[in-house]
């Protein structure tokens, strides 16, 4: 017989973690991923990783500086951020985050400075009105591998803590089955690494020397990270599908009935499998495509987790509708954060333009003007 329930009156809870939060988790993930990718070339002074490491360091710095702004904006009372720092709240992962973020960003800035010090010194030696400023910024020194390594390991500790807290903060929310899974921190980290490799590929094309070796290496790394993303996703799905774990089964059950969620799932698989296949089959001359898709995948994962996750009612029937508002609580937040990141990238690459490689490929040699290194201005 016909048995069914129709909800006649109930409250719709609006999303409380706004697109700002998506931007924060996206950017801080890219920063952590960028930092990890920069370590072989800088902290461990592997010369063959140096070019890729330089772009990764740009990723880590630009994203790492923009991310806390997005996080602050997600607070509904951003002016009260100092309230985090006058209490001791070890039961809250968010409170730990307020400790870890400054720790990480400080480490990142010191590491970035140590890594770029060699370039600052070089710019200080050319005939330019800004040379004195560069010399000041380099503090009268050049490359110091011991310092870079120490700062890199310090920043690495911060990055691991940030990766831990960002994952745990969301995974501990038992009230949302979709979030409450031990896979989530791993999925955040793997998609962050894939996104960071993606951004390295994109910046390699637009903001660095379009180095073929960097492209091939980054594409191979990307393939590895995307493999990890697919493995974690498959395990999560298997645990839910076969009812092996009640948490995952509940999480899957909360969205499996929705056509929109099924489309999202297919899209996510395509956005992972496609760049994986391309990066494996043809790692050269595909970096822009695989990079953009990987970036899109990393962002979309966070959008789906946060905005999608909040459209699953905890008590009500069905799903809440979500329409992206045009103002600061929606589109403007996304565009504004992206704009801030772009500004930081332009500023950083203006101060530290890509060093010209001594022996580039023949096709590139024609474009590289001979003579002394131009000053940044």
């Amino acid at each position: 017989m016909d048995n069914h329930i129709v909800e006649v009156i109930n409250v719709t809870r609006e999303v409380a973690w706004l697109p700002w939060a998506v931007q924060y988790f996206f950017l801080i993930g890219l920063s952590v991923g960028g930092l990890l990718l920069s370590l072989p070339g800088y902290a461990f002074a592997r010369e063959d990783w140096r070019a890729l490491g330089r772009i990764a360091l740009l990723v880590a710095l630009t994203c790492g500086l923009a991310a806390p702004v997005a996080l602050l904006s997600d607070l509904h009372q951003p002016g009260r951020f100092w309230h985090f720092y006058v209490v001791l709240r070890p039961t809250s992962w968010m409170w730990w985050g307020s400790v870890f973020i400054p720790f990480y960003v400080t480490g990142l800035l010191v590491y970035g400075w140590a890594g770029f010090r060699e370039e600052l010194q070089a710019h200080g030696q050319v005939d330019s009105r800004l040379a004195a400023l560069y010399r000041l910024a380099s503090l009268g020194g050049g490359r110091n591998d011991a310092l870079i390594r120490a700062a890199g390991l310090f920043a690495l500790a911060g990055a691991l803590l940030v990766a831990l807290y960002t994952g745990a903060e969301v995974a501990v929310v038992k009230a949302r089955p979709l979030w409450h899974t031990p896979f989530l921190p791993i999925q955040f980290l793997m998609t962050a690494l894939a996104g960071a490799a993606g951004l390295v590929l994109v910046l390699n094309r637009f903001a660095a020397g379009n180095d073929r070796a960097v492209e091939v290496r980054a594409n191979r790394l990307l393939a590895g990270f995307l493999g990890g993303v697919m493995l974690a996703g498959a395990l999560w799905l298997a645990l839910g599908l076969f009812g092996l774990d009640s948490t995952h089964a509940e999480a899957l059950g909360s969205v499996a009935g929705s056509e929109a969620w099924r489309v999202t799932a297919v899209w996510a698989v395509a956005a992972t499998a496609l760049p994986f296949a391309i990066a494996v089959a043809k790692p050269a001359r595909t970096g822009l495509l695989t990079g953009l898709i990987a970036l899109h995948g990393a962002w979309m994962f966070r959008w789906t987790v946060f905005i999608g996750g909040q459209t699953v009612p905890k008590t009500g029937a069905g799903f809440y509708d979500y329409a992206l508002p045009a103002g600061p609580e929606g589109l403007l937040g996304i565009v504004g954060t992206a704009g801030l990141w772009l500004f930081l990238l332009i500023a950083l690459t203006a101060i530290l333009p890509s060093p010209r490689r001594p022996a580039p490929a023949p096709t590139r040699a024609a474009q590289a003007p001979a003579g002394p290194v131009a000053a940044a201005e």
Binding site: I5, E7, W17, D321
Partner: protein, 250 residues
């Protein structure tokens, strides 16, 4: 006859006197159990019993709460979720008043990064909106969707059991106004209170018991199909998009 209202003041007074003889408060005194409780009188443990069978779905409680607590437009500290249930061709209504459950193990409190939300020693979970940063972590952590961001204060907001009224010896506004007497409020530490008797004798249920939150809002006649996330067709009605319209008070 109306235990929920008329006997309350008398009961509260008796509970206060009786409290002098109560040796220890279980939750507050247990070592390491809930270190975050402060304020309020530990002699009481306020709770509510909702008799679903008596609710007529008039939403008087919803309106009374809004008027009493100046709840912004399109936000609700309490609401009567109303469902049309069809069983074997016959349709009927099911009403479920929802509010903060003032849990014994409130998941909203440990996540708060500033200590703005806390549980009083009388069990009432409150938010100090002069401290709250509006991070909404508590909104996420509540399994009952009982919290929201108040866009007038830009801080977390929720039912307080009308703590200002309770401290003055009055009933919460929703209880006071309930025409069917479906909401019964009282002190679990008073063994003779209506809520204590009902909890002891009627075996009431709570929402989402599997969450381990130990709610202190109990339900009589709770259909298991409504105990967790309801499996049904969602409502077509939504609050209007004009969320920040200026309120006008008569």
């Amino acid at each position: 006859m109306d235990r929920s209202r008329r006997n309350f003041c008398l009961g509260a007074g008796a509970a206060t006197i009786g409290a002098a003889t109560v040796a220890a408060m279980p939750a507050a005194a247990a070592p390491g159990a809930v270190p975050l409780r402060r304020d309020g009188d530990p002699a009481h443990r306020w709770a509510m019993v909702v008799d679903v069978g008596k609710c007529v779905g008039c939403q008087a409680c919803t309106v009374a709460c809004i008027m009493e607590n100046d709840v912004p437009e399109n936000s609700f500290r309490t609401i009567v979720s109303t469902y049309e249930v069809t069983e074997q061709g016959k349709a009927g209504s099911y009403m479920l008043p929802r509010l903060c459950n003032h849990c014994e193990e409130p998941p909203c409190i440990p996540v708060c990064p500033t200590g703005a939300t806390f549980q009083r020693r009388d069990g009432i979970v409150v938010v100090d909106n002069t401290v709250c940063v509006g991070c909404a972590y508590c909104v996420q952590a509540c399994p009952y969707d009982a919290r929201f961001i108040n866009h007038e204060t830009q801080t977390a907001d929720k039912c307080t059991f009308c703590v200002h009224r309770v401290e003055a010896g009055l009933l919460p506004a929703c209880v006071e106004t309930c025409v069917g007497g479906a909401r019964i409020f009282g002190d679990l530490n008073d063994p003779d209170s209506a809520v204590s008797t009902l909890v002891r004798d009627e075996n009431p249920k709570v929402l989402k018991p599997e969450q381990g939150t130990r709610p202190r809002v109990f339900y009589l006649g709770l259909d298991p199909r409504f105990q967790g996330k309801v499996d049904g067709t969602p409502t077509l009605w939504r609050p209007s998009g004009e969320t920040h319209a200026k309120k006008e008070h008569a």
